[in-house]
Symmetry: C2
Subunit: 151 residues, 2 copies
């Protein structure tokens, strides 16, 4: 994949993160990509949707699965601005996501490079390729600004 493609997908995820924070939600955004096209989008919306499971990754996965008419996103990539939590990492495994690209590290809530490191667990039934640190500064600035504004 070219660098401009990588930037394009993460830019769209960052736009969704920005939209989340404009609505008062923690700014995280995600897209699902198949064959170079975005087929699912998600912004973090637990407050607006009264749904504790409404993280950006879950929303993007559900959106993409509905678009494809299947519960398996084989051959699809997930781009997300923040390291996924355990719930979302589990969903990524269930969806059979081929490649996971994420931005900023989440030392407190992340479950990929931190905490349970879910994809290193012997019982995990699917492991995507993992690429981290993509546009990480942009994602981190959105988060820092959000929490600063709320203090």
């Amino acid at each position: 994949m070219s660098l401009s493609h990588a930037r394009k997908f993460m830019d769209e995820a960052l736009s969704l993160a920005k939209a989340a924070s404009d609505g008062g939600e923690v700014p995280v955004g995600a897209v699902v990509v198949k064959n170079g096209e975005i087929i699912g989008r998600g912004a973090n919306r637990p407050l607006a949707q009264n749904d504790p499971t409404a993280h950006a990754e879950i929303a993007a996965i559900r959106d993409a699965a509905k678009a494809l008419g299947t519960d398996r996103l084989t051959g699809c990539d997930l781009w997300v601005t923040l390291e996924p939590c355990a719930m979302c990492a589990g969903a990524i495994a269930h969806a059979r996501i081929a490649r996971l690209y994420y931005g900023a590290d989440d030392v407190k809530g992340g479950a990929v490079a931190h905490g349970p490191k879910l994809f290193t667990q012997p019982t995990i039934h699917h492991r995507p390729e993992i690429y981290s640190g993509i546009a990480a500064d942009d994602a981190a600035i959105l988060l820092t600004q959000f929490f600063k504004d709320r203090r």
Copy 2:
């Protein structure tokens, strides 16, 4: 809680599990209970709903959160026929479920007593009280029969 109450909630979860298997899905069912009343129900439906996140626990949590008009199920209990996976255990933590009651162990996919043992992880931000083995034989028989019929 009396034994008859415990049985009542797990029986409802078992009925939902049975409904799932009647629809060709792996038989798992769940209910969310607040103040002795069922406020959310879920049956495992990833195939029917084209949604890899449509596990029984996720569906029951979303149902209950919608009913209460909040993303926090503080003071609520979750009853589920099978040990939750990492995705669902993560959702249970996000939802702030007070007590988790589950039936059969899931040695391969479970993330509570097996695998990452998510609620023992230092980074988990909420830990419910956990009770396991409730009507475990009934839940296990449903699962065994389902997989036997599919062979």
